[in-house]
């Protein structure tokens, strides 16, 4: 019989034990009767010989080896009974814990999904991402890592024996057949990608090696979503045509639902069929990602060594492009998480820290409640010690009780988290990376369980350690109302730590609030009202012929301007406050230095209406007009920041700037890098907070300049046209114009669509979303902390003063007024609060530094915020102490003394 078996059949065992002993007694008695004893005497003798039946039974129970469990069960029953006796206490404690644990669990669920979970491909640990690595050129974000050039990828793939490689690159475009035209994200990928990732298609087949080469029949795989939207989920979609960017493909497969790389591609085409010039050049880096899987039996280190050898071999073979260029493999998960998660990581850990503080306050609160109870139960506990309970046994019982509380609170908390997690994720500013991975799984449950038990242990420790051992007699004899000094010290300790923790959260919330206020009042540099920003692409049939492009854009703008309600419209490639920028190095003389020594500026190519549409003020000179076109002198307009940076106090108008990376055609024809002609600065305009209201002050590149779209050479026009956006100033709320605009833009072929539509106001609000979100959460946490701290102070003071009633009675009998008594209690509270604030300020300083480091736009410590938040806390604490103080002042001295 195993021990749980024995535990399970406890009742049966008890009955048998009883029966066995009864049999013994009766048998013994009947033997004695047979020897001539009087029956009564016989039973007495038999009982004496066996000893006390209860003691024997107890020893037999001990022999079963299930004692500890029975004790546990007994402790649990006892704990439940004591909690039931005081439902108010139980409810407050449970609610406090549920809030603390629930909030912590929500944040951990997000961290688990976003940062900790492995990738959702089979055997993700053997996946790697590959990059080119160069000596010398470094970038603050990507360091010395580069995307692959296609010929280098092909060579590496052919020569590697440790890695199976696949390549893919972003390829957005318009799907025009079947159904309504739609702009989608796409990907060009090699045929190995699906097998390497272990992706199985929903329908049809993947790409074959023979699809993945120039001149093969054009085939495409579509996403599950596109299949539903454009083919109605019909099983006959495989084999049907698809027109993407004006080219016809035959659909051969449907990807599984939810398939994603860094994003969710809708149209997948074979990369080997791309025969554009940049795919053949070893010095071009057209954004190719290379992912690989380690072959069985090889390690990442072996792969690294092999890549280094291949790198040296290629450098010797192609010295012009590959000198100083190597290849590096890194685990895919780490890389993807960094790329996807980026700045979210800091925010997440920050939130976990904040929520951890709330949980700590909750624990302290429950601890002080429990301690107060333990002190009132001191006589009971002393009695039990006197009756033979060991100190360990009592401590164990206390801890059982708090563990039960912790677990019950944890269960409630997990329930809160389960209901709260979806709204929380939906509420995340922008979109939370890997949001689909954020779920309550067993990692989260384990975390919640650990947190619950740990909290239970934390708040149960103090009462457990206080189980009485010495001076039993004293405790038993003394009245219930004597508070031991050590308990009062512990209580003050609790209040002080609660206040300290609340100070940290309040100051953090204050700093965020003050930051948000300051940032919202900043001038973005443009007039954000009634301004619509949207991307659009010209029909692929137009893009095929660069000479027709300028006229097509002009015609499109004219059609937009004719829509009733539109005031003016302009083209622009990079839009302030939105993602995406184009950084170009400049120099003030013809002696241009190395690339990485030049200052950088944000460049935008625009049409002459840009200034008017955006509402940017002109400071000096002029903006562009229709005379600035191909063939006329190349001109630019700079902003005031760049003017100051490049020309300090001189007048920039009429000056020249050299920018070798600008799209121009040199004397030798189509070359990108040898732009030797200078650009003339014709005007200076106001600075725009391009990087958002929060980020612009701290941005690396703040200089801005504009150049006319009309001066972009034909050769670059197809590429530039893919990136263009349109800004429309309206007379009515801009979103009301969306449908008429869509109709006008669609064009004769019906494949010109608007996508990524925003109002400028939406973009401005979004640029502060992170700050607003953090402020809201910290506000909630700080409010919770304040509330809990006040409840804590109220509880402790009520308890401590109620214990002091006799003393207060004596004081009043000796002439103390109600006011004196109130002052006495409030002073006691104020001392605790001040001590807490003193401790908390140190923590608040650390929190302020962290915020400054992690949240854009937060400036160093503001004394005013500190002072305001601390005042708020002190006032709240005094209000919480007021009730117990008043109650103490109304003590009737005669009754108080009689009670003693």
């Amino acid at each position: 019989m195993t021990w749980w078996h024995r535990l399970w059949r406890r009742r049966q065992l008890e009955e048998q034990l009883d029966k066995e002993l009864r049999f013994h007694l009766e048998q013994h008695a009947s033997d004695l009767i047979a020897r001539g004893y009087d029956p009564r005497e016989a039973r007495r003798q038999a009982g004496l010989a066996l000893g006390g039946p209860e003691q024997v039974k107890e020893e037999c129970r001990d022999a079963r080896g299930t004692r500890w469990l029975e004790d546990l069960a007994q402790d649990l029953r006892y704990a439940i009974r004591t909690l039931q006796q005081r439902p108010g206490f139980a409810a407050v404690a449970l609610l406090t814990l549920a809030l603390g644990i629930g909030a912590t669990t929500v944040i951990f669920t997000v961290i688990n999904g976003v940062l900790l979970k492995p990738l959702h491909y089979p055997d993700p640990g053997r996946l790697a991402t590959l990059n080119e690595q160069t000596k010398g050129i470094t970038d603050y974000r990507w360091g010395d890592l580069w995307a692959y050039s296609y010929p280098n990828y092909l060579d590496c793939k052919r020569q590697s024996s440790t890695l199976e490689m696949a390549a893919w690159r972003y390829n957005g475009g318009t799907v025009s057949v079947p159904g309504e035209a739609e702009r989608v994200d796409g990907v060009e990928m090699s045929s190995e990608l699906f097998p390497i990732l272990g992706v199985t298609l929903s329908r049809g087949r993947g790409f074959l090696p023979e699809d993945d080469r120039p001149g093969a029949a054009p085939v495409a795989i579509i996403s599950y979503g596109l299949w539903q939207r454009h083919y109605g989920g019909s099983p006959g979609a495989v084999g049907k045509p698809l027109v993407f960017e004006g080219n016809s493909y035959i659909v051969v497969g449907v990807a599984p639902p939810g398939f994603r790389l860094s994003w969710e591609p809708d149209v997948l085409t074979p990369i080997g069929q791309n025969t554009r010039n940049y795919m053949q050049r070893r010095d071009a880096h057209p954004g190719i990602d290379v992912w690989a899987r380690l072959r069985p039996g090889t390690t990442l280190v072996q792969a690294q060594t092999e890549l280094a050898v291949i790198g040296r071999r290629l450098a010797a073979q192609y010295p012009k492009t590959n000198t100083g260029r190597g290849f590096i493999a890194r685990p895919l998960r780490q890389e993807l998480v960094v790329e996807l998660v980026g700045d979210t990581r800091g925010t997440l850990w920050l939130l976990l820290g904040a929520v951890g503080l709330v949980l700590l306050i909750a624990c302290v609160n429950v601890a002080s409640l429990l301690l107060a109870r333990a002190v009132s139960r001191q006589r009971e506990l002393a009695m039990r010690v006197a009756l033979g309970a060991s100190r360990g046994r009592l401590a164990r019982q206390c801890l059982t009780e708090s563990a039960l509380l912790g677990l019950a609170g944890g269960a409630l908390g997990v329930w809160l988290a389960a209901t709260g997690i979806r709204p929380f994720v939906a509420f995340w500013p922008g979109s939370l990376p890997r949001a689909q991975e954020v779920q309550l799984d067993w990692h989260v449950l384990l975390f919640a369980l650990a947190v619950s038990l740990l909290s239970g242990f934390l708040f149960g420790l103090a009462p457990a350690l206080r189980a009485p051992t010495r001076d039993l007699e004293l405790i038993l004899r003394a009245g219930a109302r004597t508070v031991a000094g050590s308990s009062r010290r512990l209580h003050s300790g609790f209040v002080i730590s609660e206040i300290a923790l609340a100070v940290v959260l309040l100051v953090a919330a204050g700093i965020l609030g003050q930051t948000l206020l300051r940032l919202s009042s900043l001038d973005p540099g443009i007039d954000t009202r009634n301004l619509l920003i949207t991307r659009t692409a010209l029909s692929p049939s137009v893009l095929a012929n660069p000479a027709r492009i300028p006229a097509a854009w002009q015609e499109l703008l004219d059609r937009i301007r004719r829509v009733p309600g539109v005031q003016s419209a302009t083209m622009v490639d990079t839009v302030p406050l939105r993602e995406g920028n184009n950084q170009i190095g400049y120099w003030t003389s013809a002696a241009v230095p190395e690339k990485h020594q030049m200052p950088l500026a944000l460049s935008s190519s625009v049409t002459p209406d840009y200034l008017k549409v955006m509402g940017i003020p002109l400071r000096q000179g002029r903006f562009f007009d229709e005379h600035d076109r191909m063939g006329s002198k190349p001109v630019i307009v700079i902003d005031e920041v760049m003017a100051k940076h490049a020309f300090s106090s001189q007048n920039p108008v009429g000056k020249s700037l050299w920018m070798p990376d600008m799209p121009c055609i040199g004397p030798k024809g189509e070359t990108f890098y040898d732009c030797t002609d200078p650009y003339e600065v014709v005007g200076v305009v106001g600075h725009v907070r391009y990087w958002g209201l929060a980020g612009d002050d701290q941005a690396h590149v703040r200089d801005q300049f504009y150049y006319p779209f009309a001066q972009v050479p034909d050769y670059f026009l197809p590429r530039w046209s893919e990136l263009m956006s349109i800004a429309v100033r309206t007379k009515i709320p801009p979103l009301n114009l969306l449908e008429p605009l869509r109709r006008e833009v669609r064009g004769p072929t019906g494949d010109q669509v608007l996508y990524e539509v925003y109002t400028m106001q939406q973009l401005a609000i979004r640029s502060l979303a992170e700050q607003r979100f953090l402020l809201l959460l910290f506000g909630i946490f700080a409010g919770l902390a304040l509330l809990l701290a006040c409840i804590g102070i109220y509880g402790v003071l009520t308890y401590v003063t109620s214990r002091r009633v006799p003393e207060i009675g004596v004081r009043m009998a000796f002439g103390a007024s109600a006011r004196d008594v109130m002052r006495l209690v409030l002073r006691q509270s104020l001392i605790m609060v001040c001590a807490g604030v003193a401790v908390g300020i140190t923590g608040a300083f650390i929190a302020a530094r962290l915020l400054e480091h992690l949240v854009t736009g937060v400036r160093s410590i503001e004394p005013f915020t500190f002072a305001a938040m601390i005042c708020l806390l002190v006032i709240a604490a005094l209000i919480a102490s007021f009730l117990p103080a008043r109650r103490a002042s109304r003590v009737d001295p005669i009754r108080a003394l009689r009670e003693e």
Binding site: M1, L17, K19, F23, Q27, A63
Partner: protein, 113 residues
């Protein structure tokens, strides 16, 4: 009245095993037999017999079932398991070695005196 000595630590288990080894037997019979065997030498408190039986049962040295006695009453009969028999042999052997050694020492000291 004869002065009886207390049972040495651990020997109760050995005695119980030995008694049970003679055949299935209930608790009262074990107590009687022990008393009979050791009437004038050692004192076996009946109260500690049952905890010992239960302990041995839990360690898998004894097994028990409910049967009728000759008088037609239900009683719990104990039997030795295979493991119990091995244990009995082991403990009996070590007991004999111990008593032999102790006896040897005692005789030595007598001769030396």
């Amino acid at each position: 009245m004869t002065v009886k000595s207390d049972l040495p630590q651990g020997t109760l288990d050995l005695l119980v095993l030995k008694v049970v080894a003679l055949g299935p037997v209930h608790g009262y019979a074990i107590a009687q037999r022990l008393e009979h065997v050791s009437r004038y030498v050692v004192r076996v408190p009946q109260g500690s017999l049952y905890p010992a039986l239960h302990r041995l049962e839990n360690r898998g040295l004894l097994t028990a079932d409910w049967r009728e006695t000759e008088t037609g009453r239900e009683a719990k009969f104990y039997r030795l398991t295979r493991k119990g028999r091995a244990q009995l042999e082991k403990e009996a052997a070590s007991w004999e070695r111990l008593t032999e050694a102790v006896g040897l020492i005692l005789r030595l000291s007598e001769r030396g005196a």
